[in-house]
Symmetry: C2
Subunit: 388 residues, 2 copies
Amino acid sequence: MNNFQFYNPTRIVFGDGSIAKIKKLIPRKARVLMLYGGGSIKKNGVYLQVADALRKHDLFEFGGIEPNPDYATLMKAVKMVKKNKIDFLLAVGGGSVIDGAKFIAVAAHYQGEDPWDIVSQGLGSIIKKALPIGVVLTLPATGSEMNRNSVISHREKGEKASFGSEKVFPKFSVLDPKVTYSLPKEQIRNGLVDAYVHILEQYLTYPIGAEVQDRQAEGLLLAIHDIAERALQTDPPDYVARSNYMWVCTNALNHLIGVGVPQDWSTHGIGHSLTALYGLAHAESLAVVLPWLLWYKREQKQEKLLQLGYRVLDQKSQKYSERVDQTIEALAAFFHSLGMPTTLTAYGLDPDKVAEEVREHLERQDFVRGEHRDITAADAAEILRLSR
Amino acid sequence: MNNFQFYNPTRIVFGDGSIAKIKKLIPRKARVLMLYGGGSIKKNGVYLQVADALRKHDLFEFGGIEPNPDYATLMKAVKMVKKNKIDFLLAVGGGSVIDGAKFIAVAAHYQGEDPWDIVSQGLGSIIKKALPIGVVLTLPATGSEMNRNSVISHREKGEKASFGSEKVFPKFSVLDPKVTYSLPKEQIRNGLVDAYVHILEQYLTYPIGAEVQDRQAEGLLLAIHDIAERALQTDPPDYVARSNYMWVCTNALNHLIGVGVPQDWSTHGIGHSLTALYGLAHAESLAVVLPWLLWYKREQKQEKLLQLGYRVLDQKSQKYSERVDQTIEALAAFFHSLGMPTTLTAYGLDPDKVAEEVREHLERQDFVRGEHRDITAADAAEILRLSR
């Protein structure tokens, strides 16, 4: 096990009826800016629940934060923060709104010329101050509600990058499983796959004897297998399954299973290009990369693939030599069982053409990923060519 | 899954060489009181490492905190805190020293007449202020390094009780697996069993569909099975196994696996009496209670016992009706494999006599435990009678 630090001060307030509790979680005298996205919270009742809970607070609002939140949009919110002397941000939404809130929180206090530098130049570690953030989660998937990370896009520059800072951990995150009742099935499927891949990118690397982290990661994967089918039920939705769906997404990326172990975020790296170039949803992009990346790196990742197969995917075939391939197949089959395609061709895309375009896209970013820093733009192209 | 809050702001600094980092973790101007126990830290080099790291701090020390830390001892430390205007406590030790530090931290700020009231009257929830605590862990077992709980004894009154408060979470805990190298094998065995029982007391209750917490708990149990034998190696000690041993003990009781689920701390409750009356080490007391308690409550706990057997203890016998008993036997066999007895008779104690004495002891405390509040002093006696 490698040396590590673990720190996560976010307070989780979980369960049916929790949104009302934000009244006491946000200081009474705070000037609160409520951030949200495309307005689904006005249809599903969450907006009203928040407004009702905060009716005695000074409450401002800023809607329209788009998926893959854009620098230009967020800078408008920063302007509003300054103009109205906002001192508390309340993100009501999914990963994009929360990530956006994290950027606004540091940009509002940034002393340099352009807050984009925080993201593009990786200045997260030197951030001294940020506005406090609270979260009402509406779309379980990214884990942003309980971590220090944020991914921001700069459409004008054609860039997408991330930063991390202890200063942007949410002070609290309210997780009410009933907010998922109005989600389309597809978004729940996406959330489950996103969480599953988050776990694997912290787990499917070379083994260093971190049995605790391995078993914790496998436990979360097994929990997803346990509940996925029931979580996708919509008529009526299953509260217990939705609770587990919500809580497993948070646990998949709250830093705990990733401490002290090598990590490999290449599936996310390649997936980001597919989202940028072809508009695949984030989770969709992951599912068309991961199985092929694992097959491409199957020798290097053999030991952990065998462990995954044996402990999670019930691959215990007598023929040891077949187990790696069977594990990757079982993983793809699980995604299919959720209704999630695992090939580019399923989206009508030509793998050869995509491979070349993504290669160019990644070369411009000097893309290098993998726990051994050996997955380049050329490797990404080889991987995508297989996705058929 | 029940509604819950999860909050744990303790920073973990983990790995070989971590003790030196306390220099930067404790404010430079702090007046630090180093708390420790019987002096083993002077033999194994930890005392010197701490003193060296803090050679530029104002450092005071208070040694002699005994196992099951005593109110009278801790009040001496409180006096020293006040006299020397101490504003930071550094607990260097295991659960007793850390629990003691938590009591000192709140007692130093207590405005009432007698700080024992905090413990005896359960005033944890109203604590407003406590001295900040840092930890250098030397004996992995109790999890106190990353939780809000503290168990204190009052020998003069013949009482032992606990309190909990968010104010006593350690600010940081330094976990260097090499500090375990000087531990006698018996203490590592005790730590493993203590952690194992902590997990089971949050897990072996009636099922409420908390698959995430169940799988997390099972993952930690499996990790203990993975590493126990190697963790007990002393010549030479195995760094990787010791790292996992250390980290699993912390994860066993840092509140995460216990959120949103029923808990049953009756084994601890009965075990405390055995420690008080017969001097059994804490973990020893747990191991002579747990298997018999599970057998006594096997019908009520059947569903989770079957799950434990199937998922953790490899009990998949064709004969369903045998599986519960086999699971309990497998659990006891695991403790035996660590060199841990599971009967009172193994300690030369007469179960019938012990049963009567413990019954009286527990009756004086109005003992009621169990997730259904149905394990009384009389039940404890029945359970102990079986421990032969």
